[in-house]
Symmetry: C2
Subunit: 347 residues, 2 copies
DNA sequence: TTGTACGCGTTATCAA
DNA sequence: TTGATAACGCGTACAA
């Protein structure tokens, strides 16, 4: 036979294997899946035919018959910074360990138009149709799309989203850490603060951080927006913020990337960090440790977030209950040099 | 009717829609896909039924009938650093623009055991079965698995892999850039060099860089291995390398992360970069610009690599020829402070 | 313009 | 221990 024909993209079917082995397709299926009894000799024949024909069951056929996809999805806004990548690492690792494929969807660039065809909605629907369950990051998807997902009864885990009936939610702690950070900064003697971060939506991570900071600092802290949560945006916004007289003594950034941008801006303006202005971040990404000065930040367990989401989703898919449907993971204040001088050996 | 029944995960089928609209499933299909004529009134009825039942065609059913998955895969070693994430960004963006889903597979952690069941092979086969085409990074997958993929006639694009019949290959230029970098370092007057990077395989990116460097520097450069291409590995290896007397005057790193680790190590050893030791990287990741000193490096177009791979793969899937089956993208030497002092205003 | 009926590749039930 | 055969959900010739 023509070798190419065997390996054709269209694929060898179970019928060809059955014919070659001189058995029925039921026997082939049983042999391969280990379901039901198969005589030793028969088994050998089948396996040989499978090997010779390089047979791989058609995924679509299996999915249709089994009524499941053996794939899980994840929706995130983008993959530009380390944060979402880290969560994705944890998610992919656990999901593939569980024998399921990972289908990704980035909402970046798909504008949620107020009217008309919603590209995000369409993309999410498409994704939902090819997976057994979905992980969705908080504000990546319009509220009504989330409602729709919940209503569809598709197993759903929401990361960094307010607790919500019909879905498991999972997030890192924000408010208490923000309070702790604010107190630490007060301990340095700083008095005028800015909270620098992109426009945040009610209840999202950055909003909760802002609330915590605000609780402690009151009117001593002013919110300042950035275009995005990126180094560049942080840099641009910080340039404006730090220029001029009303300059804050400490800039509490929504995340590490904005903070790195702020440090760049300070440097460009000839300001010393932390001497002239203190800067803090959030997340504890790799670059936070390498920045000069090293960044004081709040570490959140990014990979664990992804790993736990994967496990919770698997439990949902299996129809098991999830022990804690709305879980918050602990964070840790990491004090480094960017918030001010600390006594050597000091804690 | 029970609302939950409508939205059941099992799913509404085209038959239910047809029944509700009082038409045949063929008409429903035609209406939704825009294939074939449908009377205006009929169309309305169908769309209403679709809306009311929240019908979404079963992906498995569609795939089986169409004989395609409308999904593309990508295999990478890991997502820890910015490099693969950036390539993935470009890939995802273009692929989803083309109306296809993206299925990812990280080979990290799946050991390619010399004998016995090969986890990578299995995972790749599984992935290959659920996509219409695949992008695979060079050394992520054993050679015989690549051969198998080629033999299977699955549309295949290899990134950072030697040109190979039966697959499209795509990579950034390495050797010439490495030569240029080496010449630049010679221009600084440096004389003793180390090339610091993980064990590389023949023909992979880092190997080509090493070859270019070696061509120019000859015996003046010594290769030194790291455990991985990470900051931590670079740090550890550089600590050993820079301690003691035989210390090189310049460390050419395989990539930016190893270079960042090297800078950390130098700092820890009380060495000034670039005064005591020059350091260079490769890739031009975000952190390269923010390092102190800023990192001299070779920029490669990471997102474009992913975007082009996506487009080439799409062409293969469509059965079109790819204009340039083995393409090499240009890189750019980015000179910053880490390789030595440059005259202000100098190029 | 619409409907019938077959095919896509599996799994799994039920007889034999 | 094995083999027919009915789903699974959809697309689409072909006939009407």
């Amino acid at each position: 036979m023509d070798e190419r024909a065997d390996a054709q993209a269209g694929g060898v079917t179970i019928y060809e294997v059955a014919q070659r082995a001189g058995v029925s397709i039921a026997t082939v299926s049983r042999t391969l899946r280990g379901t039901g009894p198969v005589a030793g000799a028969t088994r050998e024949k089948v396996l040989r035919a499978v090997e010779e024909l390089r047979f791989t069951p058609s995924r679509a056929g299996v999915s249709l018959a089994e009524g499941r996809h053996a794939a899980n999805g994840i929706v995130f806004p983008n993959l530009s910074g380390p944060y979402f990548a880290e969560v994705l690492i944890g998610y992919e690792e656990v999901t593939s360990e569980l024998g399921r494929s990972v289908v990704i969807l980035s909402t970046k660039g798909r504008e949620p138009t107020p009217r008309g065809t919603d590209a995000i909605r369409d993309a999410v629907r498409e994704l939902a149709g090819r997976v057994d369950g979905l992980v969705v990051f908080g504000s990546t998807v319009p509220g009504d799309v989330v409602e729709e997902l919940v209503a569809s009864r598709l197993p759903l885990v929401l990361i960094s989203h307010a607790p919500m009936p019909g879905a498991v939610t999972l997030r890192s702690e924000n408010t208490a850490s923000a309070r702790a950070l604010a107190h630490h900064l007060l301990g340095h003697g700083h008095a005028e603060f800015a909270f620098l971060g992109a426009p945040y939506a009610t209840g999202d991570d950055v909003d909760l951080r802002w609330q915590g900071v605000r609780e402690v600092l009151g009117d001593a802290v002013q919110p300042v927006l950035t275009a995005e949560y990126t180094v560049e945006s942080g840099y641009q916004a910080a340039l404006r913020l730090l220029r001029g007289a009303g300059r804050p003594r400490a800039v509490i950034c929504s995340d590490d990337e904005v903070a790195l941008g702020t440090i760049l801006a300070a440097e460009e303006l000839g300001l010393s960090v932390p001497h002239d202005v203190a800067v803090t971040g959030w997340d504890d990404i790799m670059a936070a440790r390498h920045a000069r000065p090293a960044l004081t930040t709040v570490r959140q367990p990014m990979r664990e977030l992804g790993a736990r989401a994967a496990r919770a989703l698997d439990a949902l898919i299996a129809g098991l209950g999830v022990e804690d449907a709305h879980r918050t993971l602990d964070t840790e204040l990491i004090v480094r040099g960017s918030c001010g001088p600390h006594p050597p050996g000091g804690h």
